[in-house]
Amino acid sequence: MADKKGKYPTEPLKCWDKAKKIREDYYRNYAAAHDKGGLRWAGGAWTFDAIPAGLGDDVYPITSEPYGASCAYDKKFSLRCLEATEKAGYARDLCAYMRNYWGSILLNEFAFGGPFPKPDFLWQDHICCSHAKWYQVVSELEHGIPHYSIDVAVGPESEINPNKIDYIVGQMHDGIEFLEKTTGRKYQDNLLIKAVKNTCRATSTWAKVCELNKTVPAPLDEKSMYSLYVLGTIQKSSQAVADFYEELLKEVQDRVARGIAATPNERCRVMSDTQPPWGFLSVFRYLEKFGTVSIGSLYTFGLIGAWEVAPDGQWVHRKTPMETGVSINDRDKALRVLTEWELHKPEWQHFYSPHLKSEMMIRIAKQWKLDGVMLHYNRGCEGLSLGIAENRLALLKAGFPVMVFEGNMGDEREFDMTRTMSRIDSFMETLGMKKEFD
């Protein structure tokens, strides 16, 4: 075994505990919302959470994918959720987050303690076949919670036009009417505008953080990034999340300046793809034994991060409307800005063609200086596994070694840890890496 001291200095993130606290507060506030006369709503990680923010500062969301991932992390609880869902007749090849979430409702158990807190309304977007249907079923399981979903599947960013924007913005305006009618509250445009600005700020700043991982050694590893990007999936429109990402950015900039590495023996850089098997994140620690760091992925960078291609071809954070001088003064403008902003989301592009995703992945592989790619063929998510086999072919053609492992982000019954480790051993061998570090 090599020197344990490592090639590069390393240290824990100073803002780590703050990230944990934001997440804990988020779930606690959701559960306790009614105690303070507030409202609860549920929707997906990609939903336009800035819009219900206009109902007041005491309106608390729960986003379902991160909740499903939290369930999956607790294998025993997850298994009970999955089995409850199957007992109710639902297929076990459906989205694993969705099944964990439904199971939690069926068991009436909240992953963070107590009975499952029933939302007052459902607010979702729809690009994956499961999105709006997920909440159609939730509404049925909860005996008729009002449900509103917005179709955002209008094509890739290269084809955005006024007709497509109008379609989404029109649904948003109708959605605000739905919110007022459902809650009996008067909508506040100033809160919407603030939330839209927070969304742009949070998602652009997260991309800035990920950009810094182009540095060798990488200041962050993907396993740690999972605990950070998640904040953008729970409430990207909140002041707390946008502010936190700015604080994180400063810290990561400082790490780069001082040469602080996430993996002290970094000598091999890879990226993953799609959600990891949440109950088995030790896979990423195993990589470190080979001096390998997973620097992130299109998933961790682009699920919430806002990106654009710079004139020199570099993939960089998207400049916010505030930075480009766009003024947001009324409801319609806020909704239009939000729509255009989100339609550039990297993880929305491959819904129209896997080849768009391959281009982004190859760009990451080149600009983040990768030696190989680990693709998770994720049986738990048809949306992000869409076209993944084509991504593999394209990456290979571009000259990047690819390892494939099959699993499930939220159903431990479909992940074979031993076999995956064995695949990693073989993959590392092909990359010329030896297991040298404890």
Partner: protein, 381 residues
């Protein structure tokens, strides 16, 4: 029956038909995925739209392109392209529906390039008033792309004529389906499926002509077996004739059964509603596709598919429903529980079956026989 034979021939020799059509008309052939494709626009441009379907044969060519957790239908369709069975296509397109079939399209255009390809953004939220102007805009863009491709302008008159041919086809099909409401329907479910499959692969004028002849001949026809238990087949894409044949060929003394109606996209969902009257032809077409019986991918927030299928079940005197789906079909899996619950509330027993590229006929026979027995027991007691 010779009036039925022509549909069987068209379905069986679909590629020969398309190549022959190309030769005799000089027109272009467009392969398409998903029945949300606005065929009227293509037909108005002198293009023959043909739906790409699988061949129900085991294959080994799609594994590098589509992850195995996606439905067998999308893999079977892609296999047809990779095996070169649709080499005659001048174009290939898809209307946005499920993620699964989308992969067949995106892999096909990448690895088997065609001169023209198009992804039409059919909206998902068909229950929103916002879908109408949006789809109209998308249809306008599509019309322009087709005009550029064919080098011909599509006039309002050409659209009106195409709509008339298509509406006539739909009317004749509904007339045919109406005959299945009779206590002893003159056609089987298998035969009806052959007709609807042929409908999606042939020139509608020719299909109309054949339908008229069939409708004239059918009243005199008597089938050689009793209708027996009246079944409905509900589900995702379904062109599995072998399965329907098996069910309708079971021992006619013990298990007589006939499929009298279907609710899937290879069947009634394809033709159930017309393009309405509207001076704005593109808006009329948009209305037709938005208001058609929905695919589950577009059936939210309210469930509108279930009331439609309950009405069909009532109108056609259905006693039992086979709820089938392509394996791994998420949109249908998201409907199945609710569908079975509502049908059973109405006293209609259900049997759920998952279909693959090939179906295990022996196992399915046992399950169907048991299902038919449970329905018969209700009659006894």
């Amino acid at each position: 029956m010779k009036e039925l034979e022509v549909f069987r021939e068209w379905k069986k020799n679909r590629h020969e038909y398309a190549r022959d059509w190309q030769k005799r008309t000089g027109g272009k052939v467009m392969g398409y995925f998903c029945t949300y494709v606005p065929e009227e626009i293509l037909y108005a441009a002198g293009v023959l739209p043909v739906r790409v379907l699988g061949s129900h044969e085991p294959q080994n060519v799609t594994e590098p392109h589509i992850f195995a957790m996606f439905c067998p239908f999308c893999r079977d369709c892609l296999a047809q392209g990779l095996k070169g069975r649709y080499k005659y296509l001048d174009g290939l397109m898809i209307a946005q529906s499920c993620l699964h079939i989308r992969q067949a399209y995106t892999s096909w255009v990448k690895h088997v390039p065609v001169p023209f390809s198009y992804y039409l953004c059919m909206p998902h939220k068909v229950q929103s008033k916002r879908a109408y102007p949006f789809l109209r805009g998308e249809l306008e863009a599509f019309k322009k792309a087709v005009e550029k491709w064919t080098g011909k302008e599509i006039s309002d008159k050409a659209l009106t004529d195409a709509i008339a041919v298509y509406n006539e086809n739909r009317r004749l099909m509904r007339e045919l389906y109406d005959l299945r409401k009779a206590p002893e329907p003159p056609i089987s479910g298998e035969e009806a499926m052959e007709i609807t499959m042929a409908q999606q692969m042939t020139d509608k004028k020719e299909h109309n002509e054949a339908l008229r002849k069939l409708l004239a001949a059918l009243p005199k026809r008597k089938r050689d077996r009793p209708a027996g238990t009246r079944l409905m087949i509900i589900g995702s894409e379904d062109d599995d004739l072998d399965f329907l044949h098996m069910v309708e060929s079971l021992n006619k003394e013990q298990y007589p059964a006939t499929f009298v109606i279907d609710e899937h996209c290879t069947g009634s969902r394809y033709f159930w509603n017309d393009v309405p009257e509207d001076t704005d032809k593109l808006m009329a077409i948009a209305r037709r596709y938005i208001e058609r019986p929905p695919c589950p991918t577009k059936d939210w927030e309210e469930r509108r598919r279930i009331p439609h299928m309950l009405k069909l079940a009532k109108d056609f005197g259905v006693q039992g429903a086979i709820v089938m789906q392509q394996k791994f079909c998420d949109p249908h899996e998201l409907d199945t529980v609710a569908i079975r619950k509502e049908l059973e509330k109405k006293g209609i027993k259900t049997l759920f079956l998952e279909f693959d590229v090939t179906v295990p006929i022996g196992q399915f026979r046992i399950r169907v026989e048991a299902f038919l027995e449970t329905i018969k027991q209700d009659d006894l007691f």
